[in-house]
Point group: C2
Chain length 193, copies 2
DNA sequence: CGCGACGTTGATTTGCCTCAACGATTGTGG
DNA sequence: CCACAATCGTTGAGGCAAATCAACGTCGCG
């Protein structure tokens, strides 16, 4: 297993010495996840935060009629978990599924706490991670409120071009809050213009 | 000025000694904000994070047609800022306006950085603040995707009963992503059932 | 090959919006 | 302290954006 990517990810915000790196790495659990397999299931406890080394995931929930909605995506070099379940130690509200054959590095909640105590710099790292996630989510809320579906799709393709190539359209549709049929109509309009 | 509330707020997550308290307080700027006054304006730099001692605020943006959408509310004992502008040092994407006569305690971005260096416990405090904000926002996104307007209104009244009493309905409507007229219809339905 | 998932298209329906009008408050200037 | 305007919440009629339902070709995969 190669830890270069996750270390590069961490070092974007904090710098670690050799001992700290070794300790951090010792807490990570490497897992290979085949396509379509869940790494987290609704109503189950959510004990890990996951760094995606390779592949792609999506988090989703069901509405009352059983329709799926995509809450977030995560590809290489992203972190993903059910943040509510993880932080509050409640059972998960969503499912997290591999949409490609993937590999992840898992950090257990109790190990994260140990890590933040032993290497307080990680407190800062996770503050920044949470901050950026909050910003992303708030911008999304703002867009959902102020922009029609067509604009939201355009912004999405511009902001996350890597996602558009790898993630099935039906998932993008449910992320944007529209049906696949309607996204199809939007896309046709875009090509014309 | 009375700092009890903000200190109680902070001590929910970290404990401070007298020196740390004194230092923290020395960084806070007290301001009285009359109803309808803006503490942050779109396209202006966002230098402060604001603790609401008293009163109520809302953050909002305009869509292409000039319609307002409420991004968030903050009453007594909440923190509010344009998180994107504040963290990224970009100009604000939203306006923040007092919806009652209010008092706030402002912490400047550079002072926050100093504070986190001198009293690293605040790193943890703001991690938790960001974490909770992220969770709130993600739950909101999830609800917007999976629930119709009527359910969202019910959840809102249940989760934030204090808001319903103090915040004009038209603002709640724009927070939920519906028109005041349609919220009115929803409310009538609720009373009947 | 044959089945099921995916993206697409068209016809119909519906949740919510727009526009317009109304009393009830709230606020304001004379 | 009262007239008058402005804002708020509400109601109704009509309209539109997006959902639903149904059907089709295409592709990946067992």
């Amino acid at each position: 297993m190669n830890y270069d990517n996750i270390l590069k990810n961490v070092s974007k915000h904090i710098s670690l010495d050799k001992t700290e790196i070794a300790y951090f790495i010792s807490l990570l659990a490497y897992r290979e996840i085949p396509k379509n397999k869940l790494i987290l299931e609704e109503d189950q406890p959510c004990k890990h935060i996951n760094y995606v080394s390779n592949g792609a995931f999506r988090a989703y929930s069901f509405d009352l009629k059983g329709k799926e909605s995509s809450i977030m995506f995560a590809i290489n070099d992203w972190w993903i978990t059910d943040i509510h379940g993880f932080v509050m130690e409640k059972t998960a509200l969503m499912n997290i599924e591999a949409i490609e054959d993937s590999t992840i590095l898992q950090l257990h909640k109790t190990d994260l706490e140990k890590l933040c105590i032993r290497v307080p710099k990680f407190e800062k790292f996770f503050r920044i991670l949470m901050q950026n996630s909050y910003i992303r989510e708030q911008l999304r809320t703002r867009q959902n409120l102020t922009e029609p579906a067509e604009e939201r799709y355009k912004s999405f393709t511009k902001k996350y071009p890597q996602f558009v190539q790898r993630i099935p359209l039906k998932f993008i549709a449910s992320y944007l809050g529209v049906t696949p049929q309607f996204l199809s109509v939007i896309r046709k309009r875009k090509v014309k213009s």
